[in-house]
Symmetry: C2
Subunit: 546 residues, 2 copies
């Protein structure tokens, strides 16, 4: 027997329709590539998203065709989020930190039909456009009078001219909620990038989940600054959640330095800011150097990589800003777990609470997790046993995108579970802690050493700007840990001084054998340390301590 409630699809367009009806006056404030601040509202965004949809109709794009964006966090990108997906096309966000060749590869794989980009990325597009035969229209996100001349690019138009001609009336189609709405490629540190194809349903359910009190606790009383990019993992769902909840969005454009981010936070009254640790390092450095305080910021959401304990302490103890540690990946839409506390944990002392809040956290309803051993057996949740982390749920991937219009996707799942590639523990309260990426874990004499744990100890030293721990080949122990460390400018720190830190904190056999001081640690397009490059650097390294 079926229920007798209204049955409507869960659609991205409905998020925007709701925002227009009930939060029409809420602002979207954006820093543009031109450097100025642009302000409009959800009412404006809704009208212009309909014009985007009409422009795509004008291009005769079919449902399911891909529209690429190479853009910062800004209002036109917001309009594309809703206009592209809402009209049944697939929003393909591209990471501008990839190489031109990677971008060209991705555009060809996705067979993008329209390509929208910021004027600051013109050189990238000039390098690739003639090798992207699927793209029928190139759109620069600028005013008509700012359209660069003599670009050499065919079928180029300014965004404002492109949508400006369109009617503001548009009837959003009632799509199947399982239709694809978005596409994001993983950064591909090993092998080719892989595309994750989100559905309207997965995206809307994820919006509910990220807004929940035990996740980011997003209300219409918040002003939210997503420093986390809209070009990767959908800015952690904050654009969709903004429409569902009706909070003010503050979008930083290209300027992510400490001074610029601080200025936006203060001038726009930001209450919650979300980003990766690298960005917060810059912001906290700025505050330290200039003796600044936050007047409205109450919470930071930190994800993308583990929160260094020293960063947690600085936010909480120095600035009274709550740190919400979140975990996820492109394949989980991205939010899979959040380290917010339960009633039973509020009685713990502050140090215990902190150590829980530094874990990757518990899943939200809609996601399930487990850890398994090498034979596929589920491991016990005692906070000690560690194994391969697997997840499943409404906004978890089933298969990677096979490319183009192909429907022949290859199911990834093992018995319904997606293997994340992380090694983790889960404690008795269901709090998950990642101890390593499975490919980064250091196997020494049959035991595992967590590269993340080794890095956190180094990162806590005030002279260390960044640290990475990798395994190097060893004739007796198979692998031994070695630290690669970038010192802060002008700071002094010796090998022995740093290694002495480990003696009180880890078992003797876990202490890194050596420290390599470097000028720069290579970061990938999503800001993660490229350990494969460090491993190449150390390929022929022979440890002294053997």
């Amino acid at each position: 027997m079926r229920g007798l409630m209204q049955s409507q699809p869960l659609l991205v367009s409905d998020l925007l329709v709701f925002a227009e009806r009930f939060h029409g006056n809420v602002e979207i404030v954006s820093r543009r590539v031109e450097g100025d601040i642009h302000r409009h509202t959800f009412r404006d965004a809704a009208r212009r998203a309909r014009q985007v949809a009409a422009a795509l109709d004008g291009e005769e794009l079919l449902r399911g065709e891909r529209v690429a964006t190479l853009a910062w966090n800004g209002y036109r990108h917001v309009e594309l989020y809703f206009g592209v997906s809402g009209s049944g096309r697939v929003l393909h966000t591209i990471n501008p930190r990839l190489t031109s060749e990677q971008i060209r590869w991705i555009v060809e794989h996705a067979q993008d039909s329209v390509f929208c980009f910021e004027s600051s990325f013109l050189p990238i597009v000039q390098a690739i456009w003639s090798d992207c035969p699927s793209v029928q229209r190139w759109v620069i996100l600028c005013d008509h009078d700012k359209l660069p001349t003599d670009t050499g690019i065919g079928n180029l138009i300014s965004y404002e001219a492109w949508i400006g001609e369109q009617e503001a009336q548009y009837h959003w189609p009632r799509l199947d909620e399982e239709s694809a709405c978005g596409l994001c490629y993983t950064s591909g540190t090993s092998g080719d990038p892989k595309g994750v194809l989100y559905s309207h349903r997965s995206t809307v359910l994820h919006s509910f989940a990220v807004a929940m009190p035990d996740a980011l606790c997003l209300s219409a009383r918040d002003t939210v600054l997503p420093v986390v990019p809209m070009f990767h993992v959908n800015a952690w769902g904050l654009i969709y959640a903004a429409a569902a909840v009706g909070f003010k969005l503050v979008l930083p454009g290209p300027l992510l330095d400490g001074a610029s981010v601080y200025q936006l936070i203060e001038e726009e009254g930001v209450t919650l800011a979300a980003g990766v640790p690298t960005v917060w390092q810059m912001l906290l450095g700025y505050l330290r150097d200039h003796g600044r305080r936050f007047s409205t910021l109450r919470r930071t959401v930190i994800g993308g990589s583990a929160v260094p304990p020293s960063m947690y302490n600085e936010f909480v103890d120095q600035h009274g800003v709550e740190v919400i540690h979140a975990w996820g990946m492109t394949e989980t839409s991205p939010v899979g777990a959040v380290a917010t506390l339960r009633a039973s944990q509020l009685g713990l002392d502050m140090a215990q609470q902190r150590s829980l809040r530094l874990k990757q956290g518990h899943p939200l309803f809609g996601i399930d997790m487990r850890i398994i051993d090498e034979t596929g057996q589920a491991l016990h949740w005692d906070g000690k046993a560690c194994g391969d982390l697997q997840v499943r749920g409404h906004w978890v991937i089933r298969a990677y995108y096979p490319g183009g219009d192909s429907e022949k996707a290859c199911d990834l799942l093992e018995d319904g579970w997606f293997s994340t590639g992380d090694i983790a523990t889960i404690d008795g309260d269901g709090f998950m802690q990642i101890t390593d990426r499975s490919k980064d874990v250091i196997k020494s004499g049959g035991e595992w050493i967590s590269s993340v744990e080794m890095e956190n100890i180094a990162m806590a030293h005030p002279a260390v700007a960044m640290a990475a721990c990798i395994g190097v080949r060893h004739p007796k122990w198979d692998e031994r840990p070695v630290l690669v460390v970038m010192r802060k400018p002008g700071a002094e720190l010796s090998r022995d001084e740093l290694l002495a830190l480990y003696e009180a904190q880890v078992a003797k056999w876990q202490i890194p054998d050596d420290v390599l001081f470097v000028e720069q640690i290579p970061l990938g397009a999503t800001g993660k340390v490229q350990k494969n490059k460090l491993r190449a650097l150390c390929r022929d390294y022979v440890t002294w301590a053997a």
Copy 2:
């Protein structure tokens, strides 16, 4: 092109599975009909819900068959919520405040197969059981050794004996998410009761919505007391939300008097309590009479009927307890709107904020609203124009239950909208305010007078325990308002003294013509004033003031 995310049904059983895995130690504390306090956890509830499911398999109930409950808020009722729905049957909650004949009518209409009831309702069941041929099994929610003897009821068993024989292993079926999971009949103040048939999908989506920060803001740090009954409109979704979020549940059983509710709040550390105004009148009266204070309560959710401003003030000003005014109906699962503020409203002065918070509020994402005039035209959102309130959304009814196993439901919707029977305004921020039930509005000389507005003015007088305003026939003006007032015990208040209150607050033609003081105002099964009875009382009443 379809997305490539995992596609799983939204199921009530998944809520409980999640709670068991990630919130297994969270407590469910219940006052039993025997008077004692029972404590167990979500882990226990999950095990026993599986036993309920197995017991229903033992009864050979097919999917879609109805299991009736006539029960207070308590742990066994929680187990039935999940065990019945999770196994594919339909949980039919029945309001014990209905008459025996109404209950018999409902059981026959629904063709319930199993009937579970508290021992305190034995007299009701003894009155109807022989006229309920569809019921094959009667279950008393008690221990085996407390099973009453000589009841005369055939196929009677205690709940503990019924589930105690079952295996704790059970594989929850992967149902179609559109399957019916619950059934609740409206109180039927006019005509026969009408059944609302919830689906798994509507119920799970509603759980997300009620937990959101701009709704009840439910976190795993809360301890929640649903005084609102599980036997009607699913205790506002709080049981399902408890499993999704992992908060502690405190269930008051049959004792809803001020002293008992206060004791539970204090002893269990309740942070949020939810109920109708009548219950809070008793609680606030108790606090006043005994000089008590709340030590943990931070928020009350009030719905079911409009919050009297005097009650709002007493909670907020005297006790520092936030009042969250929520609106909904059986047909909206029930939460349709909540009066929580937005950032733009936080700058208003306290009186303005209060008047917004006393409105029925804004819908949550997933619900849309409009007001229409008599010709069906949508009215402007200016906070003044009032018209018929219509809603639509994921947890709004499409058709009433036709009864039995029948699938032939008759669609209720007008152009996709459900007419609530309320008259309302909507302001520029999308805040909806109900001015009346359409059948209660008083039409005087071609103008509308809101009975709710007239009642609120009377209710603000300290000598008034309860007030209702109804229209009485008038030869010149068609209808004129008359107040029916129940004074507080021992309080004195004259007609002229009360009517004098209106002069500064409403237009002269809106002032009620007269006041009838009564000993008791009749309330229906869900605690609402039975205005049809008052109208009958006043049928031949001729106004003095004509």
